[in-house]
């Protein structure tokens, strides 16, 4: 498509203003005093009834954070964040002890309903026998640990998971109930000194999910968390820790939406994955936080540190992400391939529209022998957005037989957007074999002509091409997510086609 005025107009009318999830839930919430100090850290720790070692861990991170500077190397541009203007803790005021879903604030449940989260439905499935003709519920079951602002509200499927020996609970509870596991693994993949945002998270994280899958167990269902930022001016700092012990398997789903806001909101999460011998972790994300309005105002700042450690032999970690939201995305899910024969995968669809800025990619650090990795990244830039892939593949001197394949493709829709590719490829031994390819183009006019000539409208034709473009990645998503993701992609590109 040449950049005809029509295209430009349509891009301008893009869906960003009609953000589907832009509603606000009015519930009372309890906040820590505004700003960040040692007192805030102590406040959060006290609120969570944390043991002394945890408080010390947080304080150490806080002191380290004070000495650090915000990174500026990413291709994102945003006004300076005043870290003293943010509330670091917001929890819905506990009205009473909740024993079942029915006792939960109906306002909260309604919010999830609007989001289409099957919390209630899942709860019903758990208690009620399936009707005749309905599919086996076990197959379509998802355990949801819903994080509403900072506190996990309800955890379903706890019973069944317990039977399998899988621990799936808010990390605040895990700190109290399984201190030996948390102490052993927390910060072992993303240390408190890792980077500016991860260190900030270490000091003030309020909640998140904790998963431990014991040796030889195949987690009987997909684990899922929905994050949602609700309270005005609160940063959300989740901390997720997933440990797959020897020979185990777990698939974890993360989905995010946030209501419409004018002020930018900060989100700095940390996700740590540990895979021991022969274990496999599959981590999937669909992110569609508020991207800001058509003027580029508002939207979430998403600064996330996600890292997986293939600690054991023959272990495997796979990241799949569909990034459609946030005003700024700064996110590099990485794999440390420490164990011999371990494997890392990264499948990504990053869509930017309006004034969104995406700087995302991955790191594959080959340390063990015969490690392999695969990176498939699909970037789609429309409107006035900037979409950057930034990735690192490196093979250590002793990582003999390391193997990497990388393909990052970018699609440009409209002439005001930018697509950038910044790969770093470092081979430090001769038996490492790396292949990297990247392409950037717009949808070929020939292809569009072919489709329209056969009776498709231009919008349908573009939809078809885009779907084909991202298919490699969509296929990697668990079924439940793939449908939602496909819907999201078409929503985020609506109107960008001329």
């Amino acid at each position: 498509m040449p950049a005809v005025q029509e295209t430009v107009d349509r891009v301008r009318r893009i869906d960003v203003d009609q953000y589907r999830y832009g509603f606000e839930t009015l519930i009372e919430s309890e906040k820590a005093p505004k700003g960040l100090s040692e007192d805030t850290v102590r406040f959060i720790s006290a609120k969570k009834n944390e043991p002394e070692w945890m408080l010390q861990w947080r304080l150490e991170a806080y002191r380290r954070w004070l000495t650090m500077r915000e990174p500026t190397w990413a291709r994102v541009d945003y006004p300076k964040i005043d870290y003293q203007e943010i509330y670091y803790y917001a929890a819905p005021k506990p009205k009473k002890q909740v024993n079942s879903l029915d006792e939960i604030d109906p306002e909260i449940l309604k919010t999830y309903e609007k989001l289409g989260i099957p919390l209630r439905e899942v709860a019903m499935l758990e208690g009620i026998e399936p009707r005749v003709g309905e599919t086996d519920p076990v197959k379509s079951k998802i355990a949801v640990d819903a994080v509403f602002d900072s506190v996990s509200v309800a955890t379903t499927f706890k019973e069944e998971l317990k039977k399998a020996g899988v621990i799936f609970m808010p990390i605040s509870e895990a700190i109290r109930e399984h201190p030996e596991l948390v102490q052993k693994y927390l910060g072992s993949v993303v240390p408190t000194s890792d980077n500016f945002f991860a260190t900030l998270n270490s000091a003030v994280f309020s909640d998140g999910s904790f998963v431990y899958v014991p040796p030889g167990v195949r987690c009987p269902m997909e684990l899922s968390t929905y994050f949602r930022i609700n309270e005005r001016n609160t940063g959300q700092f989740e901390r997720t820790l997933i440990i797959a012990d020897k020979g185990s398997y777990v698939s974890y789903l993360e989905g995010c939406t946030a209501p419409q806001r004018d002020e930018n909101q900060l989100h700095a999460a940390v996700v740590e994955l540990v895979a021991l011998d022969d274990a496999e972790i599959k981590y999937s994300t669909v992110q569609n936080w508020y991207p800001g309005n058509s003027e580029g105002l508002g939207g979430i700042y998403n600064f996330v540190t996600k890292r997986g450690d293939c600690r054991g032999r023959n272990s495997k970690i796979s990241w799949t992400q569909v990034e459609t939201g946030s005003a700024i995305t700064w996110k590099y899910p990485s794999c440390i391939l420490r164990g011999d024969n371990s494997r890392g995968e990264f499948y990504s669809i990053a869509i930017s529209n309006g004034f969104q800025q995406v700087d995302s990619g991955t790191k594959m650090l080959h340390l063990g022998k015969n490690t392999s990795s695969r990176i498939i990244s699909k970037g789609i830039a429309a409107g006035k957005s900037q979409n950057t892939y930034r990735g690192l593949v490196t093979a250590h001197r002793k990582a003999t037989g390391a193997r990497n394949f990388t393909a990052c493709d970018s699609l440009l829709i409209g002439d005001k957007c930018g697509a950038h590719t910044v790969p770093y490829i470092e081979a430090k031994n001769s038996s490492a074999t790396f292949e990297h390819e990247a392409t950037t183009s717009k949808i070929s006019e020939d292809v569009l002509f072919y489709c329209t000539q056969r009776g498709l409208s231009e919008e349908e034709a573009v939809g078809l091409v885009v779907n084909g473009f991202v298919k490699d990645v969509l296929q990697q998503l668990p079924m439940e997510f793939a449908v939602e993701a496909q819907k999201l992609i078409s929503i985020s590109l609506e109107g960008s086609v001329g």
Binding site: S410, P423, I425, E426, F434
Partner: protein, 440 residues
């Protein structure tokens, strides 16, 4: 004051070098002022180190350690030694312009051989000539970084070549940099301007005279390729095994012009060639290629920025590196497509062949694209020689080394083939073969 306090030992050494060399640098008044400003700019940034993104893989603070004092004027003995070294990089039929230790030596050069339509002057002469108003402009560049600023401050000589509109040069021009001094540095800068529809072949070579060691070369070449002009540019870096060579190229290409550039690095302990190319006129055709042949502890860096500033340009980049022993090859290539540069077609390919377990190859191909109607792509690979191909050749009676050499030659051929001029292509192939010979 803080800046002074924050200086590392290396940088203090550079300060001293500038202070002591100041009186010997050509040009007064405006020129001296331009030098002073450039040195201030350099001092603010300091020697590039690994925290500077563009120098991530080539940390001069670690690799250069100290900056050697400015080399003295070559004496008669040095010129005799330089003459002998010229043979090593001789290209058939080329008219030589020889710079020995950063000083132009007329008796080794053949300006007269060039014929009509071309003017050649030395930079020193222009800088010193008070009557020339444009002299300080020669020190200004559109792109700059710390090492270019240092070059501006310290430059002693170079050649300023201008080829008239419509002139087709019958012989290649070859600038040869010969180092004869040891533990000294040479700062040179040359300007080459091709008029409209002119055609030329321009070679730049770096070579050491016998006995020259641990020297440092800092060179800059500013090239203009006029509308409809065609230029073949070849660089050969064959410095002494313990030398440092930091070279910058700043290239502007006009409309419907053709530039075919090839860089070959086979010498020097530390070498970096950074070239910034702007496609400033529509319908131009750019081909930038190169090979790095590295062994022992050599560090070779090729950094390339191709800026598509206007629509309808084509660029092709093809790089190969062969790294043996503890060599370290770096390739950084960036294709920028500006917002209005529609119909840009850019492709970049970089491949590294690692021959030893301690060799390292770092590739960073980048795309920075602000226009939608473009076709851009890049590829990067690194790996060892294909075992099955080696086996095939060995099964047919070749010894291990011969089989390797044959495969390496084929691998390098993919880049060397891109050289438009046949005699230059053969020259580069011969140089590559010589490198492989030594390895055998």
């Amino acid at each position: 004051m803080n800046l002074v306090l924050a200086k590392t030992d290396t940088e203090r050494a550079v300060s001293n070098v500038f202070a002591t060399a100041r009186d010997r640098l050509p040009g007064a008044g405006e020129v001296a002022e331009a030098r002073r400003r450039a040195f201030e700019a350099y001092e603010r940034a300091g020697l590039p180190h690994r925290r500077i993104e563009e120098w991530k893989y080539t940390d001069l603070r670690a690799l250069m350690r100290e900056v050697a004092p400015l080399a003295g004027r070559p004496d008669a003995a040095a010129i005799t030694r330089a003459k002998a070294a010229l043979e090593l990089v001789a290209v058939d039929g080329a008219a030589k312009l020889v710079l020995v230790d950063g000083v132009f030596v007329p008796e080794l050069s053949g300006i007269a051989e060039l014929g009509a339509g071309i003017s050649v002057r030395t930079l020193r002469e222009i800088l010193e000539n008070g009557a020339n108003d444009a002299r300080s402009d020669l020190l200004l560049t559109s792109t700059t970084d710390a090492v270019i600023s240092l070059n501006t401050a310290m430059v002693t000589d170079g050649v300023v070549i201008s080829v008239a509109d419509g002139t087709a040069l019958s012989r290649p021009i070859q600038i040869v940099h010969v180092a004869t001094a040891s533990s000294a540095s040479a700062f040179t800068r040359s300007h080459v301007k091709l008029g409209k529809a002119a055609r030329a072949t321009f070679i730049e070579s770096f070579v050491a005279a016998e006995g020259a060691s641990a020297y440092q070369a800092n060179d800059a070449v500013i090239l203009w390729v006029g509308d409809g002009a065609e230029l073949s540019h070849l660089r050969v870096v064959a410095d002494a095994a313990d030398a440092v060579n930091i070279s910058s190229g700043i290239v502007t290409v006009g409309a419907k012009a053709k530039l075919n550039l090839f860089n070959m690095t086979r010498g020097g302990a530390v070498s970096r060639y950074q070239v910034f190319i702007t496609l400033a006129g529509e319908g131009s055709d750019l081909s930038v290629n190169g090979i790095n042949l590295l062994k022992d502890k050599q560090h070779g860096d090729t950094t390339l920025v191709v800026d598509h500033a206007v629509p309808h340009c084509t660029s092709r980049e093809n790089f190969r590196a062969v790294v043996d022993d503890r060599g370290h090859s770096v390739f950084q290539g960036r294709i920028i497509v500006r917002p209005d540069a529609q119909k840009t077609d850019g492709k970049m390919m970089t491949r590294a062949l690692l021959l030893s377990d301690e060799a390292e190859a770092d590739n960073k191909p980048e795309l920075e694209i602000f226009a939608d109607d473009v076709t851009c792509g890049h590829g990067a690979t690194s790996g060892a020689l294909d075992e099955s191909l080696l086996f095939y050749l060995r099964a047919r009676g070749l010894c291990e080394k011969d089989a390797q050499a044959l495969l390496i030659q084929a691998f390098l051929g993919e880049a060397i083939e891109e050289i438009a001029d046949e005699s230059l292509r053969e020259f580069v192939m011969a140089q590559a073969e010589r490198w492989l010979e030594v390895r055998r």
